[in-house]
Amino acid sequence: MQQKWQRVIPGYYFSLTLTLLGLGLIVVLPLTALLISGWQVGAPRFWHEATQQRVLASYLISIKGAAIAASVNTIFGLLLAWVLTQYTFPGKWLLDSLLDLPFALPTAVAGIALAYLFSDRGWLGRLVAPLGWQVSYTFNGIVVAMIFVTLPFVVREVQPVLAKLDPSVQEAAHTLGGSTFTILRLVVLPEILPALVAGFGLVFTRCLGEYGSIVFIAGNQPYRTEITPLLIMFKLEEHSYQGATVLALVMLVFSFIFNFIIHNWQRHLLRRKG
């Protein structure tokens, strides 16, 4: 009668009904509609829609941008987390609080601010133009927007791990004659690697799906600066629901596989760490 004992608290059926109702109506029903719609497309048509030149170009742009942004944010995220946990300096709370902003800032606001900032009239656009760099309406703009919206992800993953790092282990390694880089590589890195991997994964997935901040700065030219979510938007505007469905399913399956790999890699690292 183990089961009965565990349901001693009243309200099981009530909370079950509410939860299933919420989940069913908001999440499961619409996602099922997507699956059914994808099924109805049929395999040959599906393949045709998923592999058009313009579509393939958009996958490449999205993946390349997300990979670059995730790498940049992993490096700077590590740096920021290090600075915030290992040093004391004036304005530390401000830096820490500022990092919360990209999480909460509406993507449209980020989008127009970055687009204007890097345009010919903007402060940074004028600054980098003489160097021959163009950001707004190019692939660079996509990367900048992606970096902005995912700025806090790696920091917030790594920060708690670095804060809990035992300084006595590093000191012991130092006493034993380890150089700074040896200690970083052999003592610090294994500790934070799972968090870095998780952070990289979060940034990458978010960047793939990101839309709002990118459309303003990207210029949205087919084959050059058109990300996959934007192409889905175009298909919808042309009432090509099948095309939109196919792209959405490809994106969803891709990010599930990616997340699965990242998740298992992270678990492997954590197990090795012990």
Partner: protein, 266 residues
Amino acid sequence: MQLLQAKKVKWLLLAIAWLFIFGILILPLALVVMQALALGWRTYLTTISSLVTLQAVNLTVAATVISLLFNLVFGISAAWLLTFYDFPGKHLLNALIDLPFSVSPVIVGLIFVLTFGQTGWLAPLFTTIKVQIIFAPPAIFLTTIFVTFPFVARELIPVLAAKGREEEQTAALLGASAWQILRQITFPALKAPLATGLVLATARALGEFGAVAVVSGSIRGKTLTLSLLVQTLYNNFKFKQAFVVATILLGSTLAVVILKRRLLRE
């Protein structure tokens, strides 16, 4: 490790960190404020108090309040269910709650169009009862609920799991009703994470753009949220006005971040 504790290295790393944050975060935010005020206070105030802006504020606030109410009820019920009982399929349910976070906003819009749109699944039902969902406020409310779906549940579940079910079980054995247990035992323990979850959901609901852009149709005065109004103004080359409306969103973002910090400190 002495190298990294050296003054010079510390200042170098700090300088890089601040420069990066200044370039990519502080400058864009400063630009929003400067551009908004570029035409002077008078223009700022007339833009912000114009009918279109106020209608957008109304719709955005309505969508936010509705998703917060949903989050409140669903979050508590899901946390209650997943902590207090064991049942088959519990892990699946737990995983499904997180699902909305990994769906791209544009895809969120798409799935609601496929369900409720003209050619959608439930179209016959809603045409007979003459309720329009897509290109009308209900679709905006539904997509906003979807994108904020896991926030409160995610905050509540670990806290409730850490608290355990002993107190509730004792109360139940003493004959307390579910409502009494919720009000007197469970709810007081959930106040802090509930507030955090609601604040996070508020931020997301106020600023949702991609999903809403797909389903709203951007009908002036009817289905324009603040984010969509910003887009419409910007695309019509009314840059300054777009930045004026953006300051409303920026202001609420700052309020949300400060509130969240306060809550976490307590």
